[in-house]
């Protein structure tokens, strides 16, 4: 097993608060890895560090043998890392189709001047076909013209995931993909994530509070508390780990879910 992504000594401070504290972990190619922890543990911050939206105070991030910290945020997706956001990252005033097209922004080659002159529509048309094809493969082609903000919350989350796929990533970062969903929707989403891995060979790093989902689909789990890694291992081990149970016991929501 070789690591696709590896993080070492990663540290991020906000003023006096250390949100991520000397974190080490790695994600093997082809796996679904869970990153869990109580509220405020620093999970989203880790995602923001990997997507280069935040600058770490210390540590290293390596992706496919390259030093990720040498790249600006908009290049991360070109390297093969796409993500979704905890509070929805869809562009509300764009249609679903246009959202998907922003998702494959980096695939466009034509220059600005030809575009302004009305050339380069061939590329645009091919991109549309491709986006519609992807939507169709997930049974969502009817959504294409709908403004993103008018869709139900769960659908928006699914669309955002599809948008991330438009970049043909090797690694997908999912920040709470089933938050706010009911049991049926959650089951569909679980299927969805599995399919992405099985059919497209995409590696997944998943942040999620829904423990049954995490335990069901993850191959490996990393547990954070106060920015530190407190445990790591296969789901069955994590479920029995006393430190993990303790961390979650401190937080009622976590206890109810675990």
């Amino acid at each position: 097993m070789n690591a696709l992504l590896s993080v070492s000594g990663l540290t991020k401070r906000f003023g006096g608060l250390t949100a991520v504290d000397g974190l080490d972990f790695s994600v093997a190619e082809g796996q679904i890895v869970g990153l869990i922890g109580p509220n405020g543990a620093g999970k989203t911050t880790v995602f923001n560090l990997i997507s280069r939206l935040l600058e770490p105070n210390a540590g290293a991030i390596t992706f496919a043998g390259q030093n990720l910290l040498a790249f600006p945020p908009h290049r991360v997706v070109t390297l093969g890392i796409a993500r979704t956001f905890q509070n929805l990252g869809l562009f509300p005033y764009l249609s679903v189709l246009d959202n998907l097209l922003v998702g494959r922004h980096r695939g466009f080659r034509g220059g600005v001047l030809p575009l302004a002159l009305g050339l380069g529509w061939g590329e645009e048309r091919r991109a549309r076909e491709e986006a519609l094809g992807v939507l169709r493969s997930f049974g969502m082609e009817a959504l294409a013209p709908a403004p993103a903000s008018l869709l139900p919350y769960g659908t928006q989350k699914a669309v955002e995931l599809v948008r991330a796929l438009m970049a043909r990533p090797r690694l997908l970062l999912l920040d709470e993909p089933v938050a706010g969903m009911n049991a049926t929707e959650t089951a569909t989403m679980a299927q969805f994530i599995r399919r992405i891995r099985d059919e497209r060979g995409v590696t997944v790093l998943l942040v999620e509070h829904d423990m049954s989902l995490v335990m069901e689909i993850c191959d490996h789990i990393v547990v954070l508390d106060f920015g530190r890694k407190i445990a790591e291992g296969p789901p069955a081990e994590i479920q029995r780990n006393p430190r993990v149970i303790e961390a979650y016991l401190g937080e009622e929501v976590g206890r109810a879910r675990l």
């Binding site: 600006p72 290049r75 956001f85 097209l101 922003v102 600005v112 302004a116 645009e124």
Partner: protein, 327 residues
């Protein structure tokens, strides 16, 4: 497709205007044309990319003086002078990129205001070139070796430039560039995660806005024939902002409508002596109250499918034909 049809129809109608219009009408329309280009330029920046600017009159000034000086000293043709003036202005647009990469909202607005103020303060003090406070005469435009001195010819030039600029804007807005602009405006972090470079697209937005506004300035200079610094102050920047806000700033028809409306409003009101400022102010308030998302937002709202569906049958059929929605 229907949109294209209507646009062609509109341009055709405008092209026929000189058949009956008086020279003053043509002058006003040419003025409106310059304002349309400037408003579209501001809409690209503020409406689509979300970068608040209340300093765009600075670009207008650079374009106007640029064009006037280029024609005066180089004697080049209109169709060379206008793009050159636009380019000159476009390049100064990059100056604002430094603050734009760090600032948002009101802070950015003040930085743009500072730019506009700097330009309008510097112009009169550089009197040897700009003619100081008195301003300068703009030599007549040269086109195909002739001096353009009648209003009909100027009107056709203005119309042609406007059609070209609006088409360029339309093409860009519908491409990946327009999508990237909107993405940056609404969710900058998500935009970056999708691979959109903030630096690059903000730079592009400022360049395009300055380019369009500069071209508008060049056109304006030729239309009015005489320019002075006081026309390009904060008042003009705000005027441009009002155009796009009244028309609906995140669309293309919006700034066009807003620019035409605001060009004509003072003219309509000038008949009512003593009351024009009151009516002007009241019009601004009324539009904000009754059309909070601008005229185009208003049109869109009242032509939404569910609204149209409630119309009586024959009217509905007509409306659906016009709107291009046959179900």
């Amino acid at each position: 497709m229907r949109g294209v049809l209507f646009a062609l129809l509109l341009v055709g109608l405008l092209a026929a205007v000189p058949l009956w219009a008086k020279t003053y009408d043509l002058y006003l329309l040419s003025l409106a044309a310059a304002n349309v280009i400037a408003a579209v330029g501001l809409a690209l920046l503020t409406g689509f990319t979300g970068q608040l600017s209340i300093g765009n009159a600075g670009f207008l000034a650079i374009g106007a003086y640029g064009a006037a000086l280029i024609v005066k000293h180089l004697g080049v043709e209109f169709w060379v002078a206008i793009p050159l003036a636009g380019l000159l202005s476009g390049l100064t647009g990059f100056l604002l990129l430094i603050p734009a990469l760090r600032l948002t909202a009101i802070y950015l607005a003040i930085a743009t205001l500072a730019f506009g103020t700097a330009v309008s303060e510097a112009l009169p003090r550089w009197a040897s070139v700009t003619g100081g406070y008195q301003g300068m005469r703009v030599p007549p435009a040269r086109f195909l070796g002739l001096n353009v001195q009648n209003d009909v010819a100027m009107f056709y030039l203005a119309l042609a430039v406007t059609v070209v600029m609006v088409l360029l804007a339309r093409n860009l807005i519908r491409s990946r560039v327009g999508r990237a602009f909107i993405a940056i405006r609404d969710k900058p972090a998500a935009a970056q995660a999708c691979g959109v470079s903030l630096t690059r697209y903000k730079a592009l937005a400022f360049f395009l806005s300055a380019l369009f506004t500069g071209i508008a300035g060049g056109l304006y200079a030729h239309v009015v024939g005489y320019i002075s610094p006081s026309e390009f102050g904060l008042g003009k920047s705000i005027n441009l902002f009002v155009m796009i806000a009244l028309g609906g700033m995140a669309s293309l028809p919006g700034p066009v409508l807003g620019a035409v409306f605001l060009t004509y409003l003072p003219h309509w009101l000038s008949g009512i002596r003593g009351l024009q400022d009151v009516l002007y102010g009241a019009a601004l308030i009324g539009i904000v109250v009754f059309m909070p998302y601008g005229a185009w937002g208003f049109v869109r709202k009242w032509t939404a499918p569910d609204k149209v569906a409630r119309l009586p049958r024959p009217v509905r059929a007509a409306a659906e034909f016009v709107l291009g929605r046959t179900r």
